[in-house]
Symmetry: C2
Subunit: 204 residues, 2 copies
Amino acid sequence: MARKAKSRPYHHGDLREALVASATEMIEEGGPSSFTLRECARRAGVSHAAPKNHFATAEDLIAEVAARGFEHFVAALAQAADRSVDQSPDARLTAMCRAYVDFARSHRGVYGLMFRERSGFAKSEHLRTAARAAWEQLHQAVAAVTGPGRRDTDAKAAHVWSLVHGIASLTIDRRFPEIIDPEAVIATSVASLPAAIRSVGPPR
Amino acid sequence: MARKAKSRPYHHGDLREALVASATEMIEEGGPSSFTLRECARRAGVSHAAPKNHFATAEDLIAEVAARGFEHFVAALAQAADRSVDQSPDARLTAMCRAYVDFARSHRGVYGLMFRERSGFAKSEHLRTAARAAWEQLHQAVAAVTGPGRRDTDAKAAHVWSLVHGIASLTIDRRFPEIIDPEAVIATSVASLPAAIRSVGPPR
DNA sequence: TGTACATCAGTGAACGCGCGTTCACTGATGTAC
DNA sequence: TGTACATCAGTGAACGCGCGTTCACTGATGTAC
């Protein structure tokens, strides 16, 4: 890794990571559709053919950005859970849901990418694994609230996910009327979740 | 409107409507990003400069498609409400929510367009009006359940909207794990809504 | 009823653009001996 | 420790593409008289 500091070495050093970083930056700035491979290479300080050595197609690079997004997302949820480890399952779930919406709002572009069907996604193992981890993280917090072994925990987790994803999406895409204060919606809706999932669906 | 049937008249007859129809078709087929003005003109059987006479820019045409989408959406919700007019407010709300999700699933492309921030949207009066009508439709159904005059009806309506939008989005973009049956999630979550909005937020 | 003419709604060629990808190449690295 | 050489990771020019928009134009329509 002996990278010379001055006069731009011929080899980049860690172009793969630099490309992921540039792509992430572009997507955060202008949304998923603003990404282009050429501009991404430009930002990484490299000719636009260079990425080919690390990603076969532009879509592969995009999928990697989404996978990294899910990894950060899982880390943010885990951190919220850890911070409330000595509280009730209800409190942990709401903390995690708050963290969910906060992540979406502070990573608008990448969050949008993560949750939008895209052609290159199907073949990325990394992305599939990371997305699954996110689901399991949430599922676990829901199970802690409802009690273990219930057959309908999946449906309840899907309910929770739908609500927080809905709040996050409508907020990010500014689709609430102006009179609505997103902060208030988040607070009251998220707070209602533990009670809600206890009553969603048929009782045991 | 004397439109000759044979040998392609020089004038189209109703190019504006034909363009909206072609654009809608394209967006339903391949999502909002698959739209191009040239292909749209091609489908309408017209040169690609012709649309200029009806829409100043491609983005204006897109905004019109979104506005029409909201109008159909409102009609679908109204129809659901009408059909359950002799039932309880709870039943009417759930019927409307079902109609909401059904609309999204059967108009994936346009629904995606409607709920995604887009550059040309801000200046379309038609779009703003139609979107507001959708919100009011839902708001009304929620108010019927919670009782009139409550100050927190807005937050409750936002809650309902978030949940159904979340379910719709995750279903459309296939972001639920494979084990999840969207049909079951829709049924149980929507059914829980009337009770949920009575308990969301601080009691009066 | 006929005609002149303004207006409208099209055509098709051209412009300039940025894109993803390919290709022959070259500079740098690391390994075998 | 030195050197030959395969391999790797870059370059930069070129290809072909489709895009939105502009422009001078023309065919069709409708209206005033």
